[in-house]
Amino acid sequence: MFLRHAVWYYHAFLYSILRYHVTVRDALNQALDEELERDERVFLLGEEVAQYDGAYKVSRGLWKKYGDKRIIDTPITEMGFAGIAVGAAMAGLRPICEFMTFNFSMQAIDQVINSAAKTYYMSAGLQPVPIVFRGPNGASAGVAAQHSQCFAAWYGHCPGLKVVSPWSAEDAKGLLKSAIRDDNPVVFLENELMYGVPFEMSEEAQSKDFLLPIGKAKIERQGNHVTLVSHSRMVSLCLDAAAVLAKEGIECEVINMRTIRPLDAEAIETSVMKTNHLITVEGGWPQFGVGAEILARIMEGPAFNFLDAPAVRVTGVDIPMPYAKILEDNSIPQIKDIIFSVKKTLNV
């Protein structure tokens, strides 16, 4: 009898720990589920989202719950179904258009930019387009060049779009909910390697109305010596690098951008004015990238005068992504690259 109680308490204890840990995938799933429930006009379309439960299982269980009308499997015709999603948004629905990966969004990029992003402006406010384009972005593992491109910079370039790049489970849930409730086209860049990563979810984040504002960065770790600015999976690497550097007495301030467009330049500037050093870290290519934009803004803004060393970027290598593991590993930033760049910037 006592043993049974002990076992029960043990499981309850475990459960109470595990309950507060949610993977990014499950957080996205929760967000989709809650928003589908909340608003009849929200629906999801894309390849394999319904009966297959999602190519990466992000939409698991949703088709069973909501049926064919709300969760729609499409043929492999990105340009066509992205256009259909945009048209549905124009006519009053709130579609979530999933690209199996953002590499395939290139087939449909005209619909995202010319039909979705620009329409509210061209119509001088007559025609809003409340749509979310979501899917995994950037490098995965061993998927080679055509399946590994990061689209943050390309989409971040265009006015009329909001571009969001979450890192943690809380980010994923709060930002996806905000994106779905936003009346404008939102490009929601997830990351396949982050889907299975568990994060602690606060009580607040478990509420059905938990929203995170689009356009506001978060300081994941406070520090005084150097500012590391990053988005998506690279935030993990920055935190790991910061942990290693802390042992040597270098305190990094790690900023999780959360949103690419509109960029929270103010948060970065405030941090730089404190630490006097800036390094941006991203998985995408260097030329005309997210880091390039951040550096340009710092140059043009009040924080420039506070820099004690040139601001630099840590980026993916300027090549198409190779396949062999050793080559792939050396094509994207590693923790040692961040540590190296920090020490160079601080001249230690």
């Binding site: 043929p75 256009g83 549905a88 124009m90 006519a91 629905l93 006015p159 909001k162």
Partner: protein, 390 residues
């Protein structure tokens, strides 16, 4: 005009139609109902086509005449203003194709939806825009239908989704609108137009597939004016039977210069969609008098004789006018009066369009996002921060 017997039936042949004329007198007013029989439309995967007769009342006839004439004169005025450099950029004129826009609109309701490509001025009018707003948009003034921010190719009204510049992109959009109609269960349909040039676009075939698979209430309409910019249909398409290109989608091909033909076919197609049978495809054979746009004289790839022939034999407005006059549905004076009124409306609109001020510079950065708090937009240099409101 004089005393008429209470009933008179005459049957005579006019062009390739048979006309059954039925004249009735009620309370000293003449009401003329014109029954028209014409040759069957070409059909694809359809057992029956639209009915072979149509009733045209006097009132309808005058209204169609007025609307077509308004579009015609509006486009000609735009031509004039463009040559005076008061309109700039792209200007794709619709004269010659008026029967399509007017015929389609009379076959659907204003509560239905419509989307087209860039040759959109006629549709902007039939979908509820005013000539004033349209012309002021062409001249880029604040009184324009898109406040001067869209221009010729980006005009919108309620249930009219433009005006789209990217060839073929409007077709999936239209199917998306149809999906929304089906989703919301409002019994509305979407008319989705494209040209013979666009008909070869891949995304259109992607759309045919999904529209048919999901039985979307979408009428695809190909306005075949025989030329995609400077390329004739024979040089662009392996199959110029555009009404068959939908393959598994039933299709019909008809004379797009005859407003009644277009109306009856549209009604037929709308009924098909509303009954849940899925999409349908219509090919309207029509013609544009102007070149592709104002920068194309339109005579390097076709002969002046060809243009003249269409003008004299198949002009949509002349056709309707002849039909009404030769059957005593209206008098020459009445139609002339309409012409005068239309001319005046266009003149007033042109006057407005040339004198209305340009949009204020404060409006430059507005309308980026809907329902968002005001934000800052970077100007051309780092010191210029511009204000943007929803």
């Amino acid at each position: 005009t004089g005393v008429m017997p209470s009933k008179k039936i005459q049957l005579f042949y006019h062009r390739n139609y048979y006309i059954l004329k039925y004249i009735k007198i009620e309370n000293f007013h003449f009401e003329l109902f014109l029954f028209i029989f014409w040759k069957k439309c070409d059909l694809h995967k359809l057992e029956e086509g639209p009915p072979l007769q149509a009733v045209l009342t006097r009132e309808e006839g005058l209204q169609y005449y007025r609307t077509m004439q308004t579009i015609r004169r509006m486009e000609l005025k735009a031509d004039q203003l463009y040559k005076q450099k008061i309109i700039r950029g792209f200007c794709h004129l619709y004269d010659g194709q008026e029967a399509c826009a007017v015929g389609i609109e009379t076959g659907i309701n204003l509560s239905d939806h419509l989307i087209t490509a860039y040759r959109a001025h006629g549709y902007t009018l039939t979908r509820g825009g005013t000539v004033r707003e349209i012309m002021a948009e062409l001249t880029g003034r604040r009184g324009g239908i898109a406040k001067g921010k869209g221009g010729s190719m980006h005009m919108y009204t309620k249930h009219f989704y433009g005006g789209n510049g990217i060839v073929g992109a409007q077709v999936p959009l239209g199917a998306g609108v149809a999906l929304a109609c089906k989703y919301l269960g409002n019994n509305e349909i979407c008319v989705c137009l494209y040209g013979d040039g666009a008909a070869n676009q891949g995304q259109i075939f992607e759309t045919y597939n999904m529209a048919s698979l999901w039985k979307l209430p979408c009428i695809f309409i190909c306005e075949n004016n025989k030329y995609g910019m400077g390329t004739s249909v024979e040089r662009a398409a392996a199959s110029t039977d555009y009404y068959k290109r939908g393959d598994f989608i039933p299709g019909l091909r008809l004379d797009g210069m005859d407003v009644l033909c277009v109306r009856e076919a549209t009604k037929f197609a709308a009924e098909h969609c509303r009954s849940g049978k899925g999409p349908i495809l219509m090919e309207l054979q029509t013609y544009r008098y102007h070149g592709h746009s104002m920068s194309d004289p339109g005579v390097s790839y076709r002969t002046r004789e060809e243009i003249q022939e269409v003008r004299s034999k198949s002009d949509p407005i002349s056709m309707l006018k002849d039909r009404m006059l030769s059957n005593n549905m209206a008098s020459v004076e009445e139609l002339k009066e309409i012409d005068v009124e239309v001319r005046k409306e266009i003149e007033d609109a042109a006057q407005f369009a040339t004198t209305d001020p340009e949009p204020p510079l404060d409006d430059l950065c507005n309308h980026i996002f809907y329902n968002d708090p005001p934000m800052e937009v970077r100007g051309t240099n780092p010191w210029t921060k511009l204000k943007s409101v929803s």
